[in-house]
């Protein structure tokens, strides 16, 4: 029962990554006893099974995901939100405002207009209908100032797995807030004149996964406070 790839190797769709009794993880398909990669990406061999992380990730919403969206269209009772996915999201008035309004009298642009950025949570998605969002929770809502960054959604999953504490540290040391959307968008607010430093660190946190990178970044982050 051999494994044909090392962790970190580049694999292509159709590449046989292993044969026999291994568990097929994300991005891997089992066909007659062989584990085959579905994506162009990086293989990961672990005790739980063999998986492939694609280089270009297509974001598919899941209930509970925090996402950063851009308002694409304003309807009579809802907003259409671009969430960097093949499926556009819908934000209903009842999931955006704390008390009901008379939609026949009030234009929804007063609250959110085209181009506005929101931090939202996916509350419903089943492929048959477009995903539904809410902004009626703490730390959700319209972003009124700050910077929007975009990364590969697959990198966001890696960061959430292993580097959330680094982000927390950047937040407290540079006195800013960072919202990480599962759809690959990240919002930074309140960093003032140290914004460039935050962007620099975030780029490292999200994109540098070379050996030893975590400790290198950690060292840089801990040096921050001593100025």
């Amino acid at each position: 029962m051999p494994v044909f790839v090392r962790s970190g190797a580049i694999v292509l769709p159709g590449d046989v990554v292993a044969e026999g009794n291994y568990r097929a993880g994300e991005g891997v398909m089992r066909t007659n006893g062989r584990l085959v990669s579905l994506y162009l990406g990086i293989a990961r061999v672990a005790r739980e099974g063999i998986s492939v992380t694609p280089f270009k990730h297509i974001y598919i919403p899941r209930v509970g995901d925090i996402v950063v969206g851009k308002i694409r269209d304003v309807g009579v009772t809802n907003w259409l939100v671009d969430i960097n996915s093949p499926y556009p999201a819908v934000l209903q008035v009842s999931e955006a405002l704390s008390r009901p309004i008379d939609v026949t009298k009030i234009d929804l642009r007063r609250y959110l207009d085209i181009g506005d950025v929101i931090v939202a949570k996916v509350i419903e998605f089943d492929y048959l209908r477009d995903p539904m969002l809410t902004i009626k929770e703490s730390r959700l809502g319209k972003v009124t100032e700050g910077l929007l960054l975009e990364f590969q959604p697959s990198l966001v999953y890696k960061v959430i797995e292993s580097r959330l504490r680094l982000i927390d540290e950047v937040k407290s040391k540079l006195k800013c807030d960072i919202y990480v959307g599962k759809n690959g968008r990240v919002v930074v607010t309140g960093a003032r004149n140290r914004l460039l430093e935050v962007v620099d660190l975030l780029t490292m946190i999200f994109e540098d996964f070379s050996p030893g990178s975590t400790s290198r970044i950690r060292a840089r982050v801990s040096r921050l406070g001593r100025r």
Binding site: L12, L38, Y39, I42, K56, P86, P88, E207, D208, S210
Partner: protein
């Protein structure tokens, strides 16, 4: 075409362009040549130059075309007016419409369409210079562009034609051999899975020739498969290095 048939095979078994019967044209694939597309590729196979752009999976308009359980694939094969010696009208011809369908059906079995219900994957194939075998070269390049777009696939698809020239089976026909030869059989395969996704034939083949021809096509497809894989690996290993050194 009242012209006289040129000599396609020399006495020592070389073809018009000097190749042996079982030899592919020199082939190169470049990945990620278009910034705006989700995935792209350029193939140079002999004198052919073909550019492929892939978009999606993305929202499908008009909505009524959407399928509730899987994505659809739309494919446009188009030849540039300057791709052939005599100007070709840019309007889609009967031939181009048929080739679009044939190419789509050769690629569809490889794509995991069930992963993206209600969406579309759009493939645009632009032939910049044509010298025979553009449908097969288009399939080879489109599979690479699909992989580049991050679309999940069972396998890549590679394609090549075999034909008959002065009674000899030859691999990867060029325009002359296609025009004056005695048969043309394009084959597309998912090489790892050993499944055929396209098989057409023009002219007459005996059963024995068909079998031999298929074997020859498979040999060519395996070579093209290696070229596809090398192109993708090269593109992404350089990208991986850039990421590691923090240049992006």
């Amino acid at each position: 075409m009242g012209e006289e048939k040129p000599k396609l095979m020399t006495e020592d078994g070389r073809r018009v362009d000097g190749r042996r019967p079982d030899e592919l044209r020199p082939t190169e694939i470049e990945v990620g040549i278009l910034k705006n597309a989700d995935g792209s590729a350029l193939i140079r196979q002999g004198k052919n130059r073909i550019m492929v752009a892939v978009y999606g999976p993305r929202e499908l308009h008009p909505r009524h075309l959407a399928l509730p359980d899987r994505a659809i694939v739309r494919c446009r094969y188009h030849m540039a007016p300057f791709s052939v010696p005599e100007r070709k009208s840019p309007a889609p011809t009967r031939r181009e419409i048929e080739l679009s369908k044939v190419i789509r059906e050769a690629l569809e079995p490889a794509i995991i369409l069930e992963a993206f219900p209600r969406t579309t994957i759009d493939i645009f194939i632009e032939v910049l210079q044509a010298d025979g075998g553009t449908r097969t070269a288009s399939i080879t390049a489109a599979a690479v562009a699909l992989a580049d777009a991050g679309i999940p696939m069972r396998d890549l698809v590679a394609a090549v034609a075999v034909g008959k020239v002065d009674g000899v089976l030859v691999l990867d026909l060029n325009h002359l051999e296609d025009q004056y030869g005695g048969g043309d059989m394009p084959v597309a395969m998912m090489p790892s899975l050993e499944e055929i996704t396209l098989l057409q034939a023009d002219g007459t083949f005996t059963l024995e020739e068909l079998e031999k021809g298929l074997k020859l096509a498979m040999k060519g497809i395996r070579e093209l498969y290696e070229i596809q894989k090398r192109a993708l690996r090269e593109r992404y290993s350089s990208l991986a290095v850039e990421l590691r050194e923090g240049r992006r």
